[in-house]
Symmetry: C2
Subunit: 131 residues, 2 copies
């Protein structure tokens, strides 16, 4: 059964990591955490709600900034302890104003980058056009 | 400075979540966890190494299955507590044989799905061609 919250295996803190991904470009925007209530709110409102581990409170993404995220689909992984949330973002995902929180390259393998399939150029072009 | 491991903020268990993403298609394959040693091994070998929380051991993805993941790029998020690892996978990511661990739809918003940009059809076509 779909959106059956009992299927989710929350961790010892009652949380599950949620990978927020741009539904159009495939770009990973944010990794945030959801508790049971934020999963329910997300399904009800079709916008992302998280649990803020630093502020210890429920957090409706975009509530103050306006940069809400409209949910297209939520996927659960094979061991039910991680979510992918595909969204249509209404503005930047990051509090810094960057589109994605993952703007910092930690390691780059130039050889493998050169071996990426030529098809992926299409994706990149598409991402550029979308901007 | 790039690949400076001291920049990473590991959690109280010495771990950081790593979102493994197909570099060509953008598909999220797996969410796994890395400790300091697995980050180092990943950078050195340019293949993914994780920390298995269930087996409590270092784990070289594909060591037994052959389904290794060649690293193209590792990205760190704005608060340095999550990684995106873009890879060229050498076979399915999931132990079930599925390409991605996220094969289960938990929630779908058909209205928003219809609002996805037409451009994304190109991505989907491209993904199909790549298969």
């Amino acid at each position: 059964m779909k959106d059956d919250i009992t299927r989710i295996r929350f961790d010892q803190n009652g949380l599950i990591p949620a990978v927020v991904q741009d539904a159009d470009t495939g770009e990973v925007l944010t990794v945030a955490y959801m508790n049971e209530e934020s999963v329910q709110k997300s399904v009800e409102t079709k916008e992302t709600w998280f649990w803020s581990r630093s502020r210890n409170e429920l957090w409706h993404k975009g509530e103050t900034s306006g940069n809400t995220q409209r949910i297209v689909e939520m996927k659960l992984d094979c061991d039910q302890d991680a979510l992918v949330v595909r969204v249509l973002p209404n503005g930047p995902a990051c509090h810094t104003g960057e589109r994605s929180c993952f703007y910092e390259t930690f390691f780059q393998n130039d050889e493998a980058a050169a071996a990426e399939q030529p098809g992926s150029i299409l994706s990149k072009l598409e991402r550029l056009i979308a901007e």
